[in-house]
Structures are given as structure tokens and as C-alpha cells.
Symmetry: C2
Subunit: 474 residues, 2 copies
């Protein structure tokens, strides 16, 4: 394949992104070294057979990303890794060319009274009262707990209890097929490090959870996207993509999806593992809000439909049971476990045993179920409160049947930067939709509003302010 043939307008990537990737790969490989001058725009556009503006855009984006820098207007140069990683926050934290993990955390770091940007649960809704008592019991049962290492795979007793629970809810799973991780984030990271090699393709939903995309990109993956819509995925697009691009991984969040709240229908859940098997792709199913459902039962995960090892499943309890403990479980078939154990061993040698035992005691107590029932009711009330505030606004959304977010389309284009700044000035926060766009080219004005952090009174006042800010932009 010649260089030129690799750049085509109908590929899954936009042309300028292909050029960016071309440049980045050469920097990574050391072919273009630190502080070395890059080819001129004219030269590279000739070499690659693309328009000069396409190369110009790629260089601009790489500059924004801190991969290259401009010196004395004489040209573009390779930024050393230190300069890249350690650079100062950009002037505008929100409007990078890519949805980046730290954009989210920067918005989150702004203190506001009406917090709709964090998909985090109000600490007042989390179990707090019984931990101290549980801890006393745990120490009585395991007096040497702080002095004892966990195994790398995680406490056998906890894995046994989780396997029993999963088996009672449609999973065919043994304790050997579970790995305890420090939150769902670590489970994504370990999977990426185990399966993805530089240059591998990873298929992701669009929109998608930002930190996961950042993990894949850091692992050297090239991202491909499939839209997630209220009625599910475009399966033909998935099949075509798997056939032609052979992605190593398909990262999905099919249940109460973040940020959209959409839930993939059962018919598609059955087909996805078949597609993955046919094309040698592994599906990574992130189920971080499984228990947060309103009314109807949560549908069986994609993992439960798989007859082969082509689905890896993440259930995190960190968000909605105990963020301070950071307990999640990864479920996979035997072929993936040795690699994941090696990665976990190198990453941190196993999650702390204390946390696993404490969570275990909570998990198998009746309080767990009581907590989940109360939590779902409280979150449903908050969601409905937010939806009522929006009922006459002209803002559009699909009412989610679970999860933590409303994915709202504004009735007209606005300058998202001005809107967010004005809202923050009124002490209201939200996340602009493009932060979740792996392609950084979202056309419609979406925003994500999270309802689990603010209470109902705060939601009413915050939404009043937000709508008023929006009106004032006219």
C-alpha cells in the first residue's frame, strides 16, 4: 500500500485525522525526533496527496494537543513527551479538539451550587451509617486485615459472593472468572493494556465516555466510531467496520449509556457477541450503573448472551455503593484472565484487601438491596424533577429508564463556550456534548445534564437559572 492510498475520504476517520495519525505514528516511532522540524505544509500535502488545508488543520490540531510546537514562525517542531504531558492547561479548558479526560475533571473542579456536570451520586444518598459497625465486624473476623495482602485476582470470598449473585441474575460465571479491580476505570485500563497494541483499531460508541477513549488512545489505538441512538446501534455499520477495519476491541456501555441514557435493545444484545466472534473482536462491556433502573428491570448484559470468550464485562459498584472503597469486578472467560492478571500484578499487585472485605460484608447484608431500592427511587425523583423543569423549554431528550444523565438537545445552535461560561457565572454546571464526541465534530447542540448530585430543590433552582441563561443568549 502506498502512502497516498492510505488516505481516503471515505474511511472511518476524517481526512485531517488520518494525517494527524500519520504524523503522530512517526513521532512515536522516533522517525521524527524531539525538537526536529517537521515537513512543511506544502511538502507534506504533496507527499500525502491531500489538500494543504487538510495538513494545516492536522498541524493545528496537533499543536493544540501539545504534540508539536511552532517556533519563530519558521515551522512546526516535535514537542518532547515532557512538554506534551506537562504542559500548562490550555487557555480554554473545554474546547480542545478531542474530548479529553482532563477536560471533564476541569469542569468538575469548578465549584458551583447547582452541579449538573458530575455524573456522581449525592453523598447523602450513599450508605454511610452502617460502615463503622460493619468495620468492627470485619476486624473481629479478620484481625490481621491491614497487614495482609490481597491476591492479585482479588479476595476469593468476595469473588465467590459476586459469582453467586451474578449466577442468580442470568450469568453463567464462576469465581475464577472474576477479577477485582480498583473501580471500573482500572478495569478498562487493564483490558486496554492487555489487548491493545499500538496501531490497533478500537471501535467506540459516539458519543462515548471520555476517559475510556483517552485510555485507548494512550495505548496507541486508532478510534473508530458507531453512533448510539435511542433504538440502538447501526449493526450494518458495526459489521462493515469489523469486517474492513478489524478492530481489536469494541468498547460499549449499552445499559443506561453515558452520556445519552440510551439502552441497547435485547435483539442487538444477542447479535453483538456473534459479530465479535465472527470478526475476532473483543467486546468490552462497561456496566457501571447496572443497578440504577427506574421501573423496569435492567436488561441482561451483552455478556450473558455470549457463548464464547469475546465479551469482557465490567460491573462497578464504586459509583453507587462506595466511591471511597473503589470496588469493581471484571468478568471474563479463561483465555483472557492470565493476561489481565499479569497487567493487574504490574499495575498495583492487587486491590487492597481491607476494602474488599468491607465491601463483601456490605454486599451480602440485606442493607445492600435496601440501599439500591431507596437510591433508585431517589434518583428517579430527581430525574423527573429535572424533566419537569424542561417540559416547556423546547429542549429535547429521550427519557432514560435508568442511569445518571439526561442527554439534551437544545432547540437551536448556541455558542457553547459562551453558554457554559454564562451558566458557570450563575453557579450552574453542565457538560457540552462535544466533550463526549470521539470525532470532535458534533454538529447538533447537545449537553449532558446529570441529575444525581443536586437535590430536588437545587435541581429546580439550577434549571431555572440554566434556562434563563439560555434565553438571555438569544
Amino acid at each position: 500500500m502506498t502512502v497516498k492510498a492510505a488516505f481516503s475520504a471515505d474511511a472511518a476517520f476524517k481526512l485531517y485525522e488520518q494525517v494527524m495519525n500519520y504524523i503522530e505514528v512517526r513521532i512515536e516511532r522516533g522517525e521524527w525526533k524531539e525538537h526536529e522540524r517537521l515537513p512543511s505544509v506544502r511538502r507534506l500535502s504533496d507527499d500525502l496527496g491531500v489538500h494543504r488545508l487538510t495538513v494545516f488543520r492536522a498541524y493545528q490540531e496537533l499543536k493544540t494537543k501539545g504534540r508539536i510546537y511552532v517556533k519563530d514562525k519558521s515551522g512546526y517542531y516535535v514537542q518532547p513527551p515532557n512538554g506534551r504531558v506537562d504542559r500548562e492547561p490550555a487557555e480554554d479548558p473545554v474546547y480542545g479538539s478531542w474530548a479529553r479526560a482532563d477536560e471533564l475533571s476541569r469542569i468538575h473542579s469548578i465549584q458551583v451550587d447547582y452541579q449538573f456536570s458530575k455524573a456522581l451520586i449525592d453523598p447523602a444518598l450513599l450508605p454511610n451509617r452502617f460502615w463503622s459497625e460493619l468495620m468492627t465486624n470485619v476486624f473481629r473476623e479478620y484481625p490481621k486485615l491491614p497487614g495482609t495482602y490481597s491476591t492479585v485476582q482479588g479476595d476469593a470470598e468476595l469473588r465467590g459472593a459476586l459469582a453467586d449473585h451474578f449466577s442468580n441474575t442470568g450469568f453463567d460465571l464462576s469465581a475464577d472468572e472474576l477479577l477485582i479491580t480498583s473501580g471500573g476505570q482500572q478495569a478498562i485500563d487493564l483490558t486496554a493494556r492487555t489487548l491493545i497494541r499500538p496501531g490497533d483499531r478500537v471501535l467506540v460508541e459516539r458519543p462515548a465516555y471520555g476517559p475510556a477513549m483517552e485510555i485507548f488512545r494512550r495505548q496507541g489505538a486508532r478510534l473508530l466510531t458507531v453512533d448510539i441512538r435511542p433504538d440502538g446501534y447501526d449493526l450494518e455499520r458495526i459489521e462493515q467496520c469489523m469486517r474492513t477495519e478489524k478492530p481489536r476491541l469494541f468498547y460499549i456501555n449499552p445499559t443506561f449509556h453515558n452520556p445519552t441514557g440510551f439502552t441497547i435493545p435485547a435483539a442487538q444484545r444477542k447479535l453483538l457477541p456473534e459479530l465479535a466472534e465472527r470478526y475476532g473482536c473483543v467486546i468490552l462491556e462497561d456496566d457501571s450503573t447496572y443497578d440504577i433502573h427506574f421501573g423496569l428491570k435492567t436488561p441482561p448484559p451483552v455478556f450473558t448472551y455470549a457463548t464464547t470468550g469475546h465479551v469482557i464485562y465490567i460491573r462497578s459498584y464504586s459509583k453507587y455503593v462506595a466511591p471511597g472503597l473503589r470496588i469493581a469486578a471484571l468478568a471474563c472467560r479463561a483465555e483472557h484472565m492470565p493476561g489481565l492478571l499479569a497487567a493487574k500484578s504490574l499495575a498495583d499487585n492487587g486491590s487492597p484487601l481491607l476494602n474488599q472485605k468491607l465491601f463483601l460484608h456490605y454486599f451480602r447484608s440485606p442493607r445492600m438491596q435496601q440501599h439500591l431500592e431507596k437510591l433508585c427511587t431517589a434518583l428517579q425523583l430527581r430525574k423527573e424533577t429535572m424533566e419537569r423543569c424542561l417540559s416547556d423549554s423546547g429542549w429535547a431528550w429521550n427519557s432514560p429508564v435508568g442511569g445518571l444523565n439526561l442527554w439534551v438537545r437544545l432547540p437551536r445552535q448556541v455558542d457553547m463556550r459562551s453558554f457554559l461560561q454564562a451558566a458557570l457565572t450563575q453557579s450552574v454546571s453542565f457538560i457540552p456534548g462535544h466533550v463526549f464526541d470521539p470525532l470532535a465534530s458534533m454538529e447538533n447542540p447537545y449537553i449532558r445534564l446529570s441529575y444525581p448530585f443536586a437535590n430536588e430543590a437545587q435541581i429546580r433552582e439550577g434549571m431555572r437559572r440554566l434556562l434563563s441563561v439560555y434565553e438571555s443568549l438569544k
Copy 2:
């Protein structure tokens, strides 16, 4: 540089290792794809200008590593990542061609009565009695602890207490320059992920701590080595290596070094940061047994001599205070913190807050100092017991002034595999020295004997058995 010129006999790598690296890089880049047939031995030896036996050895080593496979005697083929990562344990877990992290854990996994293979502290020597009481206090002070996230950098109160303590012991350090990690292992991993790019050189001690080497190699680093000797490093070798090979990182464990027990003298500690600064290298100083000293005070860490940001320092309390909590601290100057925070955020979003608060309460109580004093006495007694057992054996070692290990040279060559198997049959474990050799070419018969896990009676009986096994091999 032509291909042939890159392969020379006087480079830091052995010739066959350079060939291995040449092949691995091409597999990583996808130039040689999964299940693709590799060039024949004859062809590659012609291409690279090396002897056929060198290529043959490289292929054999790559086969052992699971990077390539042989089919029907028709040639060598690229093993897909899954096959690599998920392969079955080799027949003989101990004798791979490289010191690998899982070799250690496999030896550790064998249950024996006389445990000299684990550099872990006997749980009976760790503080166990006061945690339950501390926990009650912690919950009283922070009732919502299990429901509260830590910041990514770690609890400000804990960082403040650590910064105070460090400042009282010769460090010039603020809380902003500390990052709390889940054990020292994670601190190494985060540093590697932040600083090392594929193809970067990393200088390591020889012998060295195995899991760290595995982390660097997985990050795509090429390892270079400098011997660690009782009187320190060969500084000329370090300078030459830094000048010609430009390593990105120099990973050191200069205090009660694992596995040798050697301690780098103060004069070298002063010079190392200067060398690092001069050649743009970052020193990663792993200080996981800082407080375990016998008699003399522990010398000031290399970090305390640095006047620039060229040293990153890891102090882990996991091993000798609370393995079940997994608390370590990484200290670095401002230029490294943003990159490390981004890596920590993607890795696990911050260590669990519960563990940090619990450790903090222990750390600032008088019990911490009392524990360390008792622990050092107990470990010194165990060390001296083991040394007395060896006094008439003809085995040779430098008596360490701290740490957890004796690095012992046997008086004659033995078949290490037979020796270990025979010892295990007698319920005694140790680690063959070559496991710690990054070059996998150790000539002298060293073994590592760890004294902190077995009590004195066990040490006496275990050493009696070990010496008797050794004699029987004659």
C-alpha cells in the same frame, strides 16, 4: 544509520538481544503481522550481517517468550498478542530467558514451611492490634468516608502529614509535590507510563527488582544495565551510558537494595542527580524499605541531593506498615506532576480515601515510631540468625545494614534448577539470583535469601535443611 551498523558486539545489549529487539519492534509496528511467516534464519542473518547462530538464538528466545511460534518445522511465525499474553505457564516456571515478574510470583505461590523466597514481612511483625480502634476514630471524624472519592493526587491531609515528616528528615518538599499511590508498584508503573515511550532506553541496576523491569519492557523500553556492587555503581559506566545511549530513566534502589542489600555511598548519591541533569535523564529512586535499618541511620535519599527535577522518589509504606492498605507516596518536582496526575487519573481515578485516612491516623500516632523500632529489632535478629546459620558454610555475602535480603554467593557452581527443586522438596524456598538479572546471563551462583517472613526457629531449621540439600548435590 544502516541496519547492519545498528548491530555491534560492544553495545550494551548482547548481539542476540539486539536481534530480538529488531524483530520485536517490527512485530509491534505491525510490519510483521500476526501469523505471518518471519524471514528464515539464513535470510535474516544475511540482512543483519550477524551469524546464523545469533539469529537462531534470538528466534529461540522469542519462542520461549511466546512472541513467535514454530509451525510444522516450516518456519517461525508471529504469535498474536492473545497467544502471547494468555499462553499457558511454561513447563518450567523458573528458568525463562528473562527475569519475569510472574516467575517470582510462581515461586512464591508454592507453599513451604521455610519461606526464604518472599521479601515480605511476617504478618506477626506488623501492627494489627490498633487498627480496629483507629478505624472507629476515623469513622467518627469522617462519617461519610466510604461514600467519598479521594482526589486523584491523594488526600490533602495525608500529603500534608507526609510532607511535614519528609521535611523533618532532610527533604525540601511540599504537599503539592506528593502523589499518593496504591503501593510502590503503582508509582513505578505510573512513572513508566508517563515518561517512557516505545524505544526509549531505561538504565537499570544489575541485579534488579524484576517487576520493575517487566513494567519498563512492557512500556516498550530497551533496558541497559549498570552493575551494583558493595561499594556502589561504576559511575564511569553510568556516565558513558547516559552520554551515548541517552536513557530516559535510570531506575535505582540505592538503599538496602533488593536483592543485594547494598547501599550506595553518600558521595555517589550526590553525583547521580548531576549526571541525570547533564544528560537529560530522570532518576526514579525506589525506597521501599527506607525505615528498615539496623543500627546506623538510613542515609539521605538521592532525591534530597537533587537541585533540579531530575529525581522522582518513591517511598512505600505498604510492605512494612500495612500491606492490606497499599499506601505509598511519590515525590517529584512540579514539572512531572501534571503528567503523573493524568496517568493516575486514567489508571484508577485516585487511591481509595478510606485507606489514606486510616493510614494517616496510624502514621501520625506514636504507634508508628514504636512499630518501626520493634520491627527493625526483630528483623535484625532474624538476619543475624540466618547469618549465624551460614557462618561455617563457605557461602559468601555482604552483611546488609538494612532491608530484607541476603544476597549469597554459593561456593561453587550448581545446577540451580536441581538445587531449587530439591530445596522445595524439603519445604524450603529461595530465589535463584538469575531471576534478578536483566541480561539473563549471570555467571556466578547467587541466590536471594529473605529473612523477614520466617521466625528465628524456622530460619534455623530451614537453613539447616537448605545447607544439607546443597551438600547432597555434590
